[in-house]
Structure formats: structure tokens, C-alpha cells
Symmetry: C2
Subunit: 520 residues, 2 copies
């Protein structure tokens, strides 16, 4: 594959700007060879205009036709072969085994959306036969801007879940690539561009913009043609895009998945039964991918006791003994040092392990364990700041009531976890944890996010800006669709999914009954 360093705008490469940047290999901090050119405001506007034109052309496209595009994208990604894995590994330091798995996950979720489209019930067709005849189904929202993340260069980036769900919804997309892995992004752009052409979609259905700073994203979110934003990244970045989108003359929704500290509560009974296993699992989850997961368990709450102190000592020892992993880039390394520093500035916080950048050639940070008391975290909301890396903060509670009060004081998270024994009376604790997250785990760890329809990857602010939505799983498609109802429309003018005969054979809610049968 040839890299150009250009932007991909509706099937053409373009590099009109004067700002260039390079990827930096995190293992050696050495600069990549290829210069990448940040998009100009005019190029951003061109991508948005092309997306708007594509929207017009795609108005009549069937679900089956969109499904073919998705399958083609998965094929084209596969055709990138080991080049893709090696390029991403150089740019992110995530390692070939992880990246191989992530590639399968990315193409798997693209194919899952294709399957969803062919099955058809996702259209949520509802028919009231009337009179008046009123029939509704979901339609694409229009051009979507996608902001790629750094920590999942395949699954949450140019061809990641946000892109797949927006395309599946029938929306053209304009992706702002993450500057941490521009070569990887360009390879994906080539695959997407090839797929769009091969399937006869309008070229404006896909564009990808490079950008070293925040300008390109700000320009993109301000484009009148853009109807929604999908974002995965930091709280600061997500909130900035949210604020900009809300202040537009015509506001648009921003589906931002941002920081999360993913509280874990461990009961004394659980510690009594399996302290060692929980410690090992926790350390594995905190250090997985060098802790660069949005579901990283960054906060552990437990009642103070000798057993808890033994557990914390054990975790600290394991964390100290585990090798420090590579961090994605300089910004992550600097942000992590700053966040740990801010937490340590609270005099109620003590450091039990790590706490410094690792010595060596790579961007890296020691596996770090911090500890504080419940009263301190209730008194200082800054102690709920995410440490994006291999760091966890233990919170010692005086008793069960102190624990409950502290859970109540938590901000929103993607996940919350309870380690307990099945015969404990924990229903109320679970319902408290439920209020604080989009996914509640029992005797498990949050870092694996299964791509299944029941998955909910979202949660109350600041975990996301839209807790009623998910960015993983097939329900992610509804972020980019809206219902339209037709009243008294003749059968021949209705979209096929709403016609009397139900020519697609999909599940519909007809006069209160779910059925695949035609209207009689």
C-alpha cells in the first residue's frame, strides 16, 4: 500500500494545507517517514458538501444495498493484510496479538451491522392501519461527523463502530482521523474509498480528514450539512465539541464517549472467599493495554479492614511487579503524569506503587496504585478524574453506610462492578451502582466489551453526553436515525418496509401485534 499523507475527500486525495505532522513510534519516540497534511477549512467544507450531495443520492437506497457496502468494507479491510497490523503496531505500540484481535472485532462489528440490515427489524416499522393509516419507520439522519479515538485504532477509529453504525443507518460520514495513527488511518481510508467505489455509492459517502490540532474538528462540527457527531476521546475534547454543536444556529446531537473511572466495589465476604483471585483479575484488568481502556477499573471501593489492607498490599505488589507497558503517544504520557500529579496533590491521597514515568526509550508509565478515604473523595470531585493509563485508586470506607454515601456521590461512568458472594444481601447496593453506569458487572472485570446486541456501552455524564445511547452493539445505529411517519400515503408510494404486503418480510408492530405477516 502506498501512503500519500493526504486527506481523502469523496474519493479523491487532497492536501491543500501547509501544516504537516508525523506519527511518532511510541516504543522509540522516533518520527515516522511520511508527512501528513492537516485539512484546511475549505477541504473540510468540501467533504461536508460532498456528504450532503451523497445524502440526496442515497435517499432511496435499500437496507440490503447498504449491507452490501458494509460487507465490502470488511472485505477491503481484510485485503489490507498484515500491512495494516504492522503499520498500526508501529504507530500505537499496542502489539500484534491485540491488534489482530481488534481487527477481527472491527470487521466483525461491520458484518454484524450488515446482518442487522438484512434482518430488517431494526427499522422499527410501526403500522396503525387506521383510518387514518399511519406508518412509521427509521430513516437516516444525514451526514455524520466521526471523531476517531487513539486507543482503538481499528474498533473506534476510521472504520470503527461509530463509522459502521452511521453508514449502516444510511448516513454519509466524514471522519476526523486521530493524529496519533495517521498512517493506519490512511490505510483504512483507502479501504473505505475502494469499497464505496466498488459498490457504486456516491463518493461523498465517505471522507477522511487528517489534522494535528483541534481546528479540523471544530470546523467539521460547525458545518451546516452535518446532522450529528460521534466522538470517542477525552472529556475535555468531547465537551468542547458538545458545546460547539449546542451553540450552532441549528444545534445537533453529539454522541461523545469520554472519560470513565469504572468503580469496582468489593465486599468483605468476597475478599474472604477469593481475595487472591480478585487481586489477580483486577491487576490484569487495570494493566490491560497499558490501562488505556475507557472501561479501565480506575476506582476500587471497599470497607476498611485487615482483609482489605491485605488485598491492597497484594494488588500493589502485583502492580509493582508487572512490567510497565507502552503508552500510545506523548499526549497520553503527559496527560497521565499530570492526572496522577493532580490526584497526589490532595493530602488525603497516598501512593502505594508506581507514580513515575518509566525509564526507557518508550512512552511509558509505572503501574500505579493510589489510596484515599471515602470522605476525601466525597469532599473533592477532582479525585474522580480519570487517570488514562495503568492506574487505580483505592477508596477505603468506614462502613457500609460510608460506602453507600460514596457511591451516591460518584459521577456517571460507563461501568460499575460488584464483587460479592451470591448469598449476601446486595440488591440495594446493586441498584445504587446501576444509577451510576450503563453496564453493571458481577464478579467480573469491565475491560472486555462484548459486541453483542445486549451490550450497553454508554452511561451518565461525564462518561457520555447521551446516556440513552450506546456506541457498541447494534443499537448504536439509532444514534444516527430518526422516525418518520406517513399518514394516508398510498401503498405504492410507501417505502417497501411499510407496504401492506411486507415485501421484505420484516418484523413490524401492526395494530399492537408484532408480526411478519402482510396486512390483510
Amino acid at each position: 500500500m502506498m501512503l500519500t499523507g493526504h486527506n481523502y475527500i469523496a474519493g479523491e486525495t487532497s492536501a491543500e494545507g501547509s501544516e504537516t505532522f508525523y506519527s511518532v513510534e511510541p516504543r522509540s519516540k522516533s518520527r515516522g517517514e511520511q508527512a501528513f497534511t492537516s485539512a484546511t477549512e475549505a477541504e473540510v467544507a468540501r467533504a461536508a458538501a460532498a456528504a450532503l450531495a451523497a445524502r440526496q443520492q442515497m435517499r432511496g437506497f435499500s437496507s440490503a444495498r447498504i449491507a452490501d457496502l458494509l460487507d465490502e468494507i470488511a472485505v477491503q479491510i481484510g485485503a489490507l493484510g498484515d500491512d495494516l497490523l504492522r503499520t498500526a503496531d508501529r504507530e500505537t505500540g499496542l502489539g500484534l496479538p491485540r491488534l489482530t484481535g481488534e481487527r477481527d472485532r472491527a470487521t466483525g462489528q461491520i458484518r454484524a451491522f450488515a446482518e442487522l440490515l438484512r434482518e430488517g427489524s431494526y427499522l422499527r416499522a410501526i403500522i396503525n392501519s387506521g383510518p387514518p393509516s399511519i406508518r412509521q419507520m427509521q430513516f437516516p439522519l444525514g451526514p455524520v461527523a466521526i471523531f476517531a479515538a487513539s486507543n482503538f485504532p481499528f474498533a473506534f477509529a476510521v472504520a470503527g463502530g461509530d463509522s459502521a453504525s452511521a453508514l449502516a443507518a444510511g448516513c454519509p460520514i466524514v471522519v476526523k482521523a486521530h493524529p496519533g495513527h495517521p498512517a493506519t488511518s490512511e490505510l483504512f481510508a483507502q479501504a473505505m474509498t475502494a469499497a464505496v467505489a466498488a459498490q457504486g455509492f456516491p463518493p461523498g459517502a465517505f471522507s477522511m480528514l487528517q489534522g494535528a490540532g483541534i481546528d479540523v474538528g471544530q470546523w467539521l462540527a460547525a458545518q451546516e450539512a452535518i446532522e450529528a457527531v460521534g466522538f470517542t476521546g477525552s472529556l475535555r475534547g468531547g465537551r468542547a465539541i458538545y458545546d460547539a454543536a449546542a451553540a450552532r444556529p441549528r444545534p445537533i446531537p453529539v454522541y461523545a464517549e469520554m472519560g470513565s473511572i469504572n468503580p469496582v466495589v468489593i465486599t468483605q465476604a468476597a475478599l474472604a472467599a477469593r481475595s487472591e483471585a480478585i487481586a489477580a483479575g483486577l491487576v490484569g484488568s487495570v494493566t490491560l493495554g497499558s490501562g488505556q481502556f475507557c472501561t479501565n477499573p480506575g476506582l476500587v471501593l471497599l470497607e476498611d479492614s485487615p482483609a482489605s489492607q491485605d488485598f491492597i498490599r497484594n494488588v500493589s505488589a502485583k502492580m509493582g511487579a508487572a512490567p510497565a507497558g507502552v503508552l500510545l503517544n506523548e499526549a497520553v504520557a503527559a496527560g497521565l503524569a499530570s492526572a496522577v500529579g493532580q490526584t497526589q496533590a490532595n493530602p488525603q491521597v497516598s501512593l502505594l506503587a508506581g507514580g513515575e514515568p518509566s525509564v526507557g526509550e518508550a512512552f511509558s508509565y509505572e503501574n500505579t496504585v493510589l489510596q484515599t478515604r471515602a470522605a476525601a473523595i466525597r469532599a473533592d470531585q477532582k479525585l474522580q478524574t480519570e487517570h488514562f493509563g495503568p492506574v487505580t485508586l483505592f477508596v477505603l470506607c468506614e462502613d457500609a453506610e460510608d460506602l453507600r454515601a460514596t457511591i451516591n456521590a460518584l459521577e456517571g461512568n460507563l461501568t460499575s462492578t460488584l464483587h460479592a458472594e451470591a448469598d449476601e444481601a446486595v440488591a440495594d447496593l446493586l441498584s445504587l451502582l446501576r444509577e451510576k453506569a450503563g453496564r453493571v458487572l458481577w464478579n467480573d472485570f469491565p475491560t472486555g466489551v462484548a459486541v453483542v446486541p445486549a451490550m450497553q456501552h454508554g452511561g451518565p455524564y461525564p462518561a457520555t453526553t447521551a446516556p440513552a445511547t450506546t456506541s457498541v452493539g447494534t443499537n448504536a445505529i439509532y444514534r444516527f436515525m430518526r422516525p418518520i411517519a406517513f399518514q394516508n400515503l398510498p401503498d405504492a408510494l410507501l417505502p417497501a418496509p411499510l407496504q401492506d404486503a411486507n415485501p421484505l418480510g420484516i418484523l413490524r408492530l401492526v395494530d399492537g401485534e408484532y408480526t411478519q405477516a402482510p396486512l390483510v
Copy 2:
């Protein structure tokens, strides 16, 4: 029924403020006898705190229990009897026949939500049996602030669709009553308070605040405990609440249903076939309820021709001949005069009928017809301003291309309508109209909004701030819910709708199949 003029906060009446106001009877402009006291900021905070406390207590309430509350509310509203109708008629001038129908509609939609809750599929239970076992369903979002509208004192006010859907979702509500009908609002507050008590719900599940100005609403939307806002009213008011909610430290969604001009397109073939019938239908729709419907057809587009000019002359004559109705209040009357004045200030606009306040005792305005050309409305977005009252604006287009370009230039609306003949090639025109609205009508008029599951009462901005949602029909419940997934949770700790045995017998999506069967 005794009126107190107080606020209803968690089961108690309260009137700590010094600002009082009165209702004004629109037919006579005479002041009502009862003084109403605007809530203070402390009272607003107390209502929000009570709602938060109720949220904690309601965490474990089943759908069936909430359904009982809804049924009880409908019963209590019925028990208000003719007092309610007479009070609302005095305060709004809408007339007893309309209000009788609207009461049935309001209690009907409350009972429809009760039915939805008992049926259970609204929970959208999804189960992936795993491993890992992941199971999700919808949960209440938390306390909701409701802003009542003036034009539907029953169906979009204290016990209207927003309140019913939020309560159905399991959310406590704090309603900001509309100052146009404070006595009517108090009667509803009494019915709601009685229902909450009778069904043993925590009193904070319902509060109602009076307020003459904008302060009470601004205080309410800023309360930390509030998780979402339902609003029906003007673009200016809705946008102000949207902006305030987006600027909170923790932003919350605002579901605002605001202005709409509901474009109607009439083809030449339709005019040739049924000009007189369309004219009569249009005039009936424009003047219904003195034009005070959010779905009022305020813009009619047609190609210029002798037939079109005949049609416009006919409509203008009928509009001039129809009696001018009563407007809700002084603010509506003043706003209408101002909006018509702004439109007439455009030199491309001519006045064909009406255009002045009616002479007489009541708040009233002549049935008004305005006309302009397509190029003018494309050149001046202000011509898309809603005239909230019995007013419509004809837009003459040069040809089919001019018509298409003008539709493309329209902002978002609740509805769009096409009058055409079945043998015309209008598929493309329909798909253009689809992009601009939440409901598309064929040979019909938009002012009736059937309360059925297929109804979509929403649309792109500025019609609403959330085009993917509806404020009419059972899907309105999803504005106030969010999904939560459980991973590996033991069966006994799962909510009943997600347990293996499916004890409620609801429809669930289990491993890709929709089924009411238990897991095996």
C-alpha cells in the same frame, strides 16, 4: 374544588413568594378572582429535592405498579368533572366541545401508557445468554422537568403527554405550569397529588410550580437533580431552556417541541381534480382552534397558474368569511400581530385577507392570508417564522424546479403535506418533503394528531431540539429512559423482566430471536 393559588410541592401546598398573578379570561379580557403565587427559587429547589428522594424510593417499582398510578390519575382527572371543563374554558376560550374531546384524549393517552407498561415489550429487554451473560432493559432516567404549553391545557400541560410519558418511564416529575391557565393547572395538580397519595407513591413523584415569568423555569432547568426536560412552547422559550441545559456543568437533554409552519404542497393535478375540497379543508385546518396548533398549515407551496390563483382567491374569501376565533391570551395576540407585521415588512409579501386584530371584547385576530414568491422565501429565512394563529402564507413557485429548490430551503417542521393525484410521479417530491418533517401527509391536513403508536410528533430543528424523539404516542416514553446492561448477574438479582423464567411473559430479544419464552 377549592382553589388555593399555591404551588404543589410533594403533596403540600406552598406559597412563599411575593409575586402573584391572575388568569385573564380571553373572551372578556377580565381578570379572574384567584391570585396565584409564583414559586420562589427555594420552592423550586425543594420540589427538585423531593423528586430526587422519590427517585430513590421508586427504584424498585414495577411497571405494573406505575401502570396503577397512571390509571388512578385518569380516574382522578375524571373526578374533576365539569368543573375542570368550565375552568379551562374560562381561562382559554377554547370552548367546551373542544375541551371535552381534549380531556378524553388526555386521559386516553395516560391509560395507553398504563397498557404499554402492562404489556411490557416497551422495556426492550435484550438477552445474550453468553458467556458472558449480558442482559439489558430500559430504566427511568430520573427526575424530569415538564414545561406545560398554553394551547392544549389538558393534552400538553400538567397531566399531558410529557407528564404521562415521564411518569410511565418511572420518573418523578416537576411541572412548570403555564401562566395562561393557572386555575386549570391547579385542578390537575390536585388530581395528580391525590393519585400519588392513593397509590402510595412517594409524594415527591409529582410537584407543580406556578410562575408568571421565566424565572421559575430557568431555576428548574438548572437543578442538579433534574435529568431531562420536556417542553412544549415557542422557539424562543424552548431554545433558551435548551441553551441553559447544555451549559450546565452536567448537561441534560431537552426535548422541546417548538414552532412549526407545516408546509403543504399542492400539485396542479390535485387542483384540477378537487380545488374546492382542498380549499375548504385547508381553511378548516388553518382556523381550527383559532389556528393555535403546532401543526397548523402555515405555508402553502404551489406552482403559479390561473388555477392556483383561483384557489388562493377562494381560500382568501373563505378565510375572510369565517368568523375570527378567540385567542388564548394577550401574549398570543401580541405575538401574532408582531409576527404578521414582520412578514408584511418584506416588500415581496402581499396581504390577501385579514391582517389586523379583530374588533371586539375578546383577544382575537382576523383570519389572515399572505402571499409571496418562492424566490423571496429562499432569500429571507425570516419568512419561515411561525404565525401562531389563523394565518397562512401562500408561496408561488415558477415551476417544478423552483418548487423543489424552495422545499430544499425549508427549515425543519413537525409535518409536511402533499396534495397530489395518485397517478402523478411524486416519489421524489415526497422524499424531499420527508427530509423536512417528522410526519408526511398525503391528501390530508396536519392539524389532527392521532394518539397511536405509529404517530411521530417531532421533526428537525427548529420544530424540535430532538428529531429522533416524539412527544405524542407511546414512543414518547423513550425520552425519559436509558438502557442498562447487566453482565454475569445471578438470576435472582436480575430485574424480573430479565430473569431466565421471564416471569412477566414479555417479548424479549433472546440471542437474536424475539420471543416470550423463558430461557432454557
